[in-house]
């Protein structure tokens, strides 16, 4: 499976990565060669195989519905690149 620069552009938008036109070409080429390698999996017939979703034979891991004190607000906001009035501030949405 070969990827075009346009497909890489769409992927980059989904992944929220701004990339230049040169990078589109560059990644298209590299990803295509990786995907070509990955196509090796087509050699295996997996039509009867159950996907392995969980590696451990573990289920129902719960915690009790108990309140644990939250972090201090200062701690939560300390790494914020832009903080105003005890909130994280972001530029306009649209």
């Amino acid at each position: 499976m070969a990827l075009t620069a346009k497909e890489v552009e769409d992927l980059a938008l989904k992944a929220r990565l701004k990339i230049t036109d040169a990078e589109k070409e560059f990644f298209a080429e590299q990803l295509s060669s990786i995907l070509k390698y990955v196509d090796k999996l087509d050699e295996l017939d997996t039509s009867e195989v159950e996907p392995l979703i969980y590696i451990l034979p573990v289920s129902n891991r719960f915690r009790a519905d108990e309140i644990r004190s939250s972090a201090s607000r200062d701690e939560i906001l300390a790494n914020g690149p832009l903080v105003e009035d005890f909130h994280f501030k972001v530029p306009k949405i649209i």
Partner: protein
């Protein structure tokens, strides 16, 4: 040729599950805290933090499933729903995609006196996002502020089949769903606080056509009234568009409550692709029959059962019973009254009439009112004993509602005791008749209105306290005798 259209509505309802702590961490879910004070590194999506599932969330989801007659999955899992948004800390929402906890349920609504069954496709557990605070409108705000208190609050998303055919049906479904969630004790269902939210999928199609039309999704309908109006408006808009030869575009709309119209939200530059995949941080769930049975055994009475009980045991009309059972608190109030005042119909008249009117007018819930069941009952007894009239009772009730005082005290303080003493009334009536000879003539010449005039005069003189039955009787005797 005129094509007749029908409206098709399906609802996606998000109900906040009633837990003390969030779904994947120990932060409190309490409403109304200072911004970003109920947040920890887990629900703020910090690097290296891992989710641990709150068992109560699963329990409440199972309970809801049972209340909605749904199948509870033996095996289910959590998936990541990927999208970027400033209020979504991990940039994925932990949700359930292809293996929800509940499937294939239903609930019954009553519409124009007919029972109608609405299918419930699925219900699944997920975490809520945070909140964005804009300056004014999202489209014009120069920046937004992020508050993560809500991030990680447990939600159950309940998706209906497209079985509703009008705004009224959508509203009835939503009201019934709310009642069930409240009775089952799984959610507070406070629409103003966002603990019950609703998106409506609306389409129209020519009657008789099997395929569904193109649908639009109206987001965030935060009251029953908004839901009903928005659905009806949107259906009308779509029909008019089709009649004008336009095509309906699948899009997301908002409801403008003030202008009463739906508006298209600006279309995104990309199509949604949530890239769901199983969350490797959370082992799957196995729900044993034993667990389900245990929850089933602890299920409280649900609205349909309560309605049937009121009809069977107290002979309440179906309509009244369905209204009384819209909220467990109303039913509890009603049941408590019934213990000492078995006239169910009179009670329901008061509950559906004055009580409902005042609750609405003051925008409060029945569990918050100051009137207690024993107060209402003593007031009704005063009517029965002829101490106050029905009309005065309404005033007394309003006073009880506002102040929480006993009816006896109110009647006493305001001197509202009904005047039933024939001697007092006789004298008054004689005086009125004597000073209005013209009206007496009118009465005698057969004008019925004239009688009403005299009743009014007596009431005016007694400030409404005269016992109307006795006044009527005495007046009749007087006027007929002298004629």
């Amino acid at each position: 040729m005129d094509v007749q259209y029908e409206t098709v509505v399906g609802l996606e309802v998000h109900a906040e599950l009633k837990t003390a702590s969030k779904i994947f961490c120990g932060c409190s879910t309490a409403f109304g805290a200072e911004p970003n004070t109920q947040v920890c590194p887990v629900c703020a999506g910090f690097p290296g933090m891992l989710p641990v599932l709150n068992e109560k969330v699963v329990e409440l989801a199972i309970r809801t499933g049972l209340a909605l007659n749904a199948e509870i999955a033996e095996h289910c899992k959590f998936d990541r729903k990927n999208y970027f948004y400033p209020d979504l800390p991990k940039a994925y929402q932990i949700s359930q995609f292809d293996a929800p906890i509940c499937k294939k349920g239903y609930l019954d609504i009553e519409i124009d006196g007919e029972k109608k069954r609405i299918g419930i496709t699925r219900a699944h557990m997920e975490e809520d996002a945070g909140k964005l605070i804009h300056q004014g409108d999202i489209t014009t705000t120069p920046f937004s502020l992020v508050d993560l208190n809500r991030s990680g609050v447990p939600l159950l998303e309940i998706v209906s089949e497209p079985d509703m055919r009008s705004g009224a049906e959508a509203r009835a479904y939503m009201e019934k769903l709310r009642a069930i969630l409240l009775f089952a004790g799984v959610s507070d269902c406070k629409m103003q606080e966002g603990s019950l939210r609703c998106d409506a999928n609306v389409s129209v199609r020519p009657i008789g056509q099997k395929e569904l039309g193109v649908r639009t999704e109206i987001k965030n309908l935060n009251s029953f009234r908004a839901l009903e109006r928005a659905v009806d408006y949107e259906a009308k808009r779509q029909i008019e568009a089709l009649e004008d030869g336009e095509e309906i575009i699948q899009e997301t709309m908002t409801w403008d409550e003030e202008s009463g119209v739906t508006r298209s939200m600006r279309s995104k530059e990309e199509a949604d692709d949530y890239r769901y995949f199983p969350d490797p941080d959370l082992p799957p769930l196995f729900i044993s029959q034993e667990w389900i049975d245990r929850i089933r055994a602890s299920m409280p009475e649900l609205p349909d059962q309560a309605q049937q009980r009121l009809m069977d045991e107290y002979g309440l009309p179906e309509y009244d019973a369905s209204i009384i059972t819209l909220s467990p608190d109303t039913l509890a109030f009603f049941d408590e009254c019934l213990q000492v005042y078995p006239d169910a119909k009179t009670l329901s008249n008061w509950m559906m009439g004055e009580m409902a009117r005042l609750l609405n007018q003051n925008n409060i819930e029945i569990q918050e009112v100051r009137v207690r069941p024993e107060g209402l009952v003593s007031m009704l007894k005063m009517i029965d004993e002829g101490k106050i009239s029905g009309k005065i009772a309404k005033k007394v009730f309003e006073e009880m509602f506002m102040t929480g005082k006993d009816p006896e005290q109110i009647v006493e303080e305001k001197g509202l005791i009904q005047i039933s003493d024939p001697e007092v009334l006789q004298a008054m009536i004689a005086e009125i008749i004597a000073s209005n000879p013209k009206v007496v003539d009118d009465y005698r010449s057969g004008k019925d209105k004239a009688f009403g005039f005299f009743v009014g005069q007596v009431m005016k003189k007694t400030r409404g306290k005269a016992n109307p039955a006795i006044v009527n009787q005495l007046l009749k005797e007087h006027l007929d005798r002298e004629g």
